[in-house]
Symmetry: C2
Subunit: 176 residues, 2 copies
């Protein structure tokens, strides 16, 4: 994994990929699948996300205020779905689904070795956690697998249907 400048993090999340969210609490790690997230600020990169109290990760996120956002490509799709179908209350998902935790540099939750990008995050605002299950995260360190140049990300369309990232086009946009 190579370090990615924080100024480029929005390029990973803005297209709307399904992501994995890891947490760690009292020595136990957990992973959930998530696609309700968006960029809020370029740099330092702020990311908003929705994590429901029904998710086992909610408690860990609120208590520890740390997580990792790991971005899988299509090769991991079956595991991404299994992670989403199960709860950390019942199983150790890293062990059960053969995912490899890798120590992060600045937060306790682990990176996911099989993902092409990993973002170490701190919760910087949870005032809307009750109202909208809403967390604002700051990405404090970002990693990318330099071997993956055109990742086929997954994009959830509901009820088991996923769009897989297609071709890339370039247009004369002046937007950042």
């Amino acid at each position: 994994m190579r370090e990615l400048p924080l100024s480029k993090v929005y390029q990973l999340l803005e297209p709307g990929p399904v992501v994995l969210l890891t947490t760690a609490r009292r020595g136990r790690t957990n992973i959930m699948t998530m696609s309700w997230h968006m960029m809020v600020e370029f740099e330092p990169p702020l990311v908003a996300c929705v994590v429901s109290p029904a998710d086992h990760s909610f408690g860990a996120l609120r208590a520890t205020r740390e997580c990792v956002i790991a971005i899988p490509a299509v090769e991991l799709a079956p595991k991404v779905v299994e992670v989403g179908n199960s709860s950390g209350r019942d199983v150790d998902k890293f062990a059960k689904f053969g995912l490899t935790p890798v120590p992060a540099k600045r937060v306790a939750p682990p990176l996911v070795a099989e993902c092409f990008a990993n973002l170490e995050c701190r919760v910087v605002d949870s005032r809307w956690a009750k109202r909208y299950c809403f967390f604002v995260l700051e990405v404090v360190k970002a990693w990318i697998d330099p071997a993956v140049t055109a990742p086929r990300t997954l994009h959830h369309r509901g009820r088991g249907e996923f769009m897989v990232a297609g071709r890339t086009i370039r247009l004369p946009s002046r937007m950042k």
Copy 2:
């Protein structure tokens, strides 16, 4: 345009498409390009989005508390970029870029005829507008073009690069 049940709106926004946002104020309509948005609740569908005070639409959105989210497919890509490159302060973007405003049913801002989906929205929470340029919208009416079955949406990867929606896969997900 056929009406889409509000319970299905998340299936359009969750994959992270670039969207157009229309507003209307003092008889003048405007459009901007946006990709910082996410679902917050299934039904009634709540959508969070970031609209900067630097965008001409910010004032209209805050004052009128209404907008339409219109979702373009790749055929509209050049216009989507032109909309993003210009400001409603200077030009009537509907006229200049040959986009067709269509009256909405429940809000004043127009639908965009050329887009395959249009979501009529009301601002239900702007308490974080100053802090994060953050608006929570409720979708009150949704329209879809029944002729478009597999829309090739655009997904912004920064600096003029866009991913175009690729193939669809089905997996045994129990997630909604």
